[in-house]
Symmetry: C2
Subunit: 143 residues, 2 copies
C-alpha cells in the first residue's frame, strides 16, 4: 500500500498525509462507506440490492461509487454469488474485517451519548461483559 496514492480499477484514493487517522478518512470519511461495512458485518448483507435497501436509503449512483472506492481502498472485494450468476457477492477483505474493533468502539461511544435502537443497547451490554469474545464471534461469523 503506497504512502500517498492508491489506484485500483479507475478509482483513485489520494492520501493527504501520512497520518493514520487522515488515511482512514481518505478511505472511509463520508456519510455512507462505514454503513456498507456495518451491513456486511452485522446484517449479513452482501449484494448491491441488499445495500440499496439497507435502511438509510443510499442512492444507486452513490452506492456504486462507494463500493468502487471501498474496493480500491482494500476494504471489500467482489466475488461470484453461489445462488446466481446475475448476482455479485461482496465480502470484506481481511483489512475490512479488521475494522470490527473500530465499529465496536463507535457503537459503544454512540450508544453512550445518543438515543439508539434497543438492539444497540443490548449489544453494548454484551460488550461490557466480554468485548474480546464478541469481537471474536463477529470475526467467526464472516468466515
Amino acid at each position: 500500500m503506497n504512502l500517498y496514492f492508491c489506484v485500483v480499477k479507475k478509482k483513485e484514493i489520494h492520501f493527504r498525509s501520512d497520518c493514520p487517522i487522515g488515511k482512514t478518512l481518505d478511505i472511509l470519511g463520508d456519510k455512507w462507506s462505514l454503513l456498507i461495512v456495518r451491513d456486511l458485518v452485522f446484517k449479513g448483507k452482501n449484494t448491491y440490492g441488499d445495500f440499496l435497501n439497507g435502511g438509510e436509503g443510499i442512492t444507486t449512483s452513490v452506492l456504486a461509487d462507494k463500493l468502487a472506492l471501498l474496493e480500491c481502498g482494500g476494504i471489500i472485494s467482489k466475488g461470484t454469488h453461489p445462488e446466481s450468476k446475475a448476482k455479485i457477492l461482496y465480502s470484506l477483505t481481511p483489512k475490512g474485517i479488521d475494522l470490527i474493533p473500530v465499529l465496536v468502539e463507535v457503537i459503544e461511544w454512540s450508544e453512550k451519548h445518543h438515543e439508539v435502537h434497543p438492539f444497540a443497547t443490548s449489544f453494548v451490554k454484551q460488550l461490557k461483559k466480554d468485548k474480546a469474545g464478541v469481537i471474536k464471534m463477529l470475526r467467526q461469523s464472516l468466515k
Copy 2:
C-alpha cells in the same frame, strides 16, 4: 439528545436513523471533523488558527462550518482563551473526550494496514503494551 434532530446555534444535524453508527456518521462522517478532534487530543491545538495550519490544509470556510457542526453535535465547546480576548479556546466536551478509544482503534487499524508516520508506529507499540494506560493518560492530558 433527540433521536432524530440536533439543532444548536443555527446549525442542524439530522439523524437518518437510530443506528449508532449512522448517528456517528451524521456528526463525524466527513473528511475533516475527526482531524479536528485529533488535533485537540494529540497535538494540543485549540484555536481556529491552530486548526487552519494543522497540516492537511483545511480551508477556512470548511473549518468554520465543521467547528459549528462539532459544537452542534456536542463534541467541542467554545471558551475564553487565557492569553487573549481576541482568541477563542476550543476544547473537547466529555462526549468529545470519550472519542479517544475510537481514535485509538482507528490508529491501530490504519497503522496495521498503511504506511504511516513513524510516530504512529511507536504509538501503536505503546498501545500493544498497555492500551488502557495510554487512554487514561490521554484523558488526563485534556483535564
